[in-house]
Amino acid sequence: MQNITRLFSLVLIFGVISVVAEVKITVKGSDTMVILAQRWAERYMAAKPDVTIQVTGGGSGTGISALINGTTDICNASRPMKPSERDKLKQRFGTRGVEIKTAQDGLSIYVHESNSVQELTIEQIRNIYAGRITSWKEVGGSNEKIILYGRENNSGTYVYFRDNVLLGEDYSATMQSLPGTAAVVNAVTKDKNGIGYGGAAYGKGIRELKVKADANATAYAPTVENIKNGDYPITRFLYLYVRNKPTGALKEYIDWILSDDGQSIVSQVGYFPIR
C-alpha cells in the first residue's frame, strides 16, 4: 500500500514538473511581421523542444489590444505603441510596457506596371493620399483618375504611413481599405490607375516607385542597400512589446531574437537587421 502511494506521488510530481517545464509563449500582432515571427518561433522551438511558441497575426492594433487585454505575452507591432495605449496597459497591469526593436523595414509605393510615373516626392504622395492630387496628370502621368488603395485601420502600416507620410492628416475618404499587403498588391495589379503602399513586395503586374524626400533630393528605390543606409525615406522599425522587463524563458527568447542567429532570419525573410 505504501509502495503504491509512493509510486503515485512520484508520478504526480513528475507530471507537475513536466507541465511546469513546458513553457508556452504566445505572440500576436502585426500582419507585416507574422512570417518573420513564425520563422523565429520555428527555429527557436527546433533548438529548444521544451518551449512552445504560438504566433498569430491580426494587425498591430489587434496585438496591442491583446497585450492590454492580457491575452498575449509578446505583441508584434510595426508601429510604436501610443501613449494612450500605454496608459491603458498601466491601468490594467501597472506597467507601461517594454519596447524591443527587432528589425527594420522599408515601405514601398506600388503602381500598376503600365503606369508611366517613375518617382514621387513624399509631398506628392501625401497630397495624393490626402485627396488633393486626384489625377495622374498632376504628377507627370496620363490624364487618369488616381485610385487609392490602403490598409484597414487596425494595421500598423496604416498608422505609420499616416503619421510619417501624411504627417498626421487623415486619409482621403475615397481610399479603399484592404486587409493585408497581399490584398493591396493584388488590387493594384488589377487596376492600371491604382496606387498602394506596403512592405516590400515582388509581384507580377506592379512596380515599386522611387521615392525622394523632397523635390531637390535624389530618388531612391526601396532596395536593401538604400534602406540599410537610411537613404530610402520611408523606413520604419518592427517592434516587440512585452508587459514587463523580460525574465526567464521570455528573456532567453528575446535575447535570441536579438542575437546574430535571430537577426539572420530577419534578412532571410526580407527585412533588415537592426545592427
Binding site: 498601466k90 524591443i100 485601420n153 537610411g230 522599425f237
Partner: protein, 402 residues
C-alpha cells in the same frame, strides 16, 4: 386557447397528439382526474406513438404512467431549451445596448500621465544608422497629442468616419448611407428575379422541373457568404467592370450584385410558399371563368399572395442589411459619402467586421462599433417583426377577403 386552459386546469401533462386532442375537444373539456381512455375512446382508434393499440381494454393506470414519465420529461426539456434560446437572444440584445450606452455618458478624464521615460530593452544593440531612422519616425510625437475622440452627437452625425486618427471622427452617416445603398441595390436586383422565379415554379413549371428547381434554389440559401464574396472579388468584379466600364473596380454596385445572389434564395423560398398557399379554389374559379394560365397567375395568384411576397422581400432586405462578409470583400470599404452607385462604400456591418478585432475594450471606438451593432439589430429586428406580424397576419386576411 380553450385547449390550453383545459390542459392547465386538469394539471395533467398531455401530449398534444391529434388523437387525444380530438378526444378532448369532442368531450368539450374533461373533468380533472377523469380516466383517459374514456376521453380518447370516444372519437378515434387509440394509437399512441409507434406502439399499436392493444386489442383488449386498456389498463388506465398503465397508460397514465407512461404518459406522465417520458413525455413529461421530454416536454419540460423542450420548454427549457426554448426558453434558454429565447433568453440567449434577449441577453445578446441587452449586451449590445449596454456596450453601446457609454458613448452617451461623459467619460471621466483619464489622469494625465506625467512624462516617463519609455522602457526599452536591447536598444544598445541597435546600429547608428537604424537609430537615425528611428529619430525620423514622427508617430511618437504625433501620438502624444492624439485624443480618444469626442463622444458627442455632433461627432456621431458628422460626415466622416475616421476612427483611427489623431482626432477620431465617428461620423456614422456615410456608413448608414453605404449600408442603404448596397441593400437597396441588392433588393432591386434580387426581388424581381426571385418573385418571378417563384411565380414560375408555383404556377407554370411542370412537376419534374419544380422538383429540381425548388430544392436547388433553397440549397443556395445555405451557400457560405464568404464564397460569394470571394467570387465577387475575383471574378464578378472584373466581368462587371469590363462590361460596364466604370472607374472603381470594387464598388457598391458590385456589392449589391453579389449580395443579390445571397438574397434571391430567401425571397424565393418565402414567396414561393406564399404563392403555393393561395387556395386552390381561387385558381380553379379563375380558370373556370375562362382566364388563361398567365392571367390567373398574374392577376389572381400574385395579388392574393402579395402580403407573403412582400414579407419575403422584407426578410431579404433584413438579410442584406446585416450581411457582412460579401460587402467586406466586394465593396472597397471606403467610407465615402456619395449617392453614386459605382463608387466604393463602407457599410455598417463591414465596419464592425473589420474593426472589432482591433479596438481596446471600453474605448470610445469600441462603444461606437456596438452602437452600429445596435442600429443593425434594431433595423433588422423591426423589419422581421413587421414582415411576420403585420403583413403575414393582418394583410393576409384582408387580401383574401376572409
Amino acid at each position: 386557447m380553450e385547449i390550453m386552459s383545459d390542459l392547465q386546469f386538469t394539471g395533467r401533462p398531455l401530449s398534444l397528439s391529434r388523437d387525444n386532442l380530438g378526444g378532448h375537444l369532442g368531450k368539450g373539456g374533461s373533468l380533472p382526474g377523469s380516466p383517459l381512455p374514456a376521453a380518447l375512446g370516444s372519437s378515434m382508434p387509440v394509437t399512441h406513438g409507434s406502439s399499436p393499440a392493444p386489442a383488449h381494454r386498456l389498463n388506465a393506470a398503465d397508460l397514465k404512467k407512461r404518459f406522465r414519465l417520458d413525455e413529461f420529461i421530454a416536454e419540460k426539456l423542450i420548454t427549457l431549451v426554448a426558453f434558454v434560446s429565447l433568453a440567449a437572444i434577449i441577453s445578446i440584445f441587452v449586451f449590445v445596448f449596454r456596450e453601446a450606452a457609454p458613448f452617451f455618458q461623459t467619460k471621466e478624464a483619464v489622469a494625465v500621465q506625467e512624462e516617463v521615460e519609455e522602457e526599452t530593452y536591447g536598444d544598445d544593440m541597435v546600429s547608428a544608422h537604424a537609430r537615425e531612422g528611428a529619430s525620423r519616425d514622427r508617430s511618437r510625437e504625433l501620438d502624444a497629442n492624439a485624443s480618444e475622440g469626442e463622444s458627442t452627437l455632433g461627432n456621431l452625425f458628422s460626415l466622416s468616419w475616421a476612427p483611427v486618427s489623431l482626432e477620431p471622427k465617428y461620423g456614422i452617416v456615410p456608413l448608414v448611407v453605404g449600408s442603404m445603398k448596397v441593400t437597396i441595390l441588392a433588393i432591386l436586383l434580387a426581388a424581381p428575379i426571385a418573385v418571378l422565379a417563384a411565380l414560375f415554379t408555383s404556377s407554370f413549371a411542370p412537376k419534374w422541373s419544380r422538383e429540381i428547381l425548388k430544392p436547388a434554389i433553397e440549397i443556395l440559401a445555405g451557400f457560405p457568404s464568404v464564397v460569394i464574396g470571394f467570387f465577387a472579388l475575383v471574378v464578378l468584379a472584373t466581368v462587371l467592370q469590363d462590361l460596364l466600364g466604370y472607374q472603381y473596380r470594387l464598388n457598391a454596385f458590385l456589392g449589391g450584385a453579389a449580395m443579390s445572389l445571397a438574397v434571391i434564395p430567401i425571397i424565393f423560398t418565402v414567396a414561393e410558399d406564399a404563392l403555393t398557399a393561395v387556395p386552390k379554389y381561387m385558381t380553379e374559379a379563375s380558370l373556370a371563368l375562362g382566364a388563361t394560365r398567365w392571367q390567373t397567375a398574374l392577376f389572381v395568384r400574385l395579388p392574393a399572395a402579395t402580403p407573403g411576397v412582400f414579407a419575403a422581400v422584407l426578410l431579404g432586405f433584413g438579410r442584406a442589411f446585416g450581411e457582412t462578409m460579401i460587402v467586406l470583400m466586394a465593396t472597397g470599404n471606403a467610407a465615402l459619402l456619395s449617392l453614386d452607385f459605382f463608387e466604393p462604400v463602407r457599410t455598417m456591418s463591414a465596419t464592425i467586421g473589420a474593426e472589432m478585432a482591433e479596438v481596446v475594450f471600453g474605448d470610445t471606438h469600441y462603444n461606437v462599433l456596438f452602437l452600429l451593432g445596435a442600429i443593425l439589430f434594431l433595423f433588422t429586428f423591426t423589419l422581421n417583426a413587421v414582415a411576420e406580424i403585420f403583413i403575414r397576419q393582418r394583410l393576409l386576411k384582408r387580401f383574401r377577403g376572409l
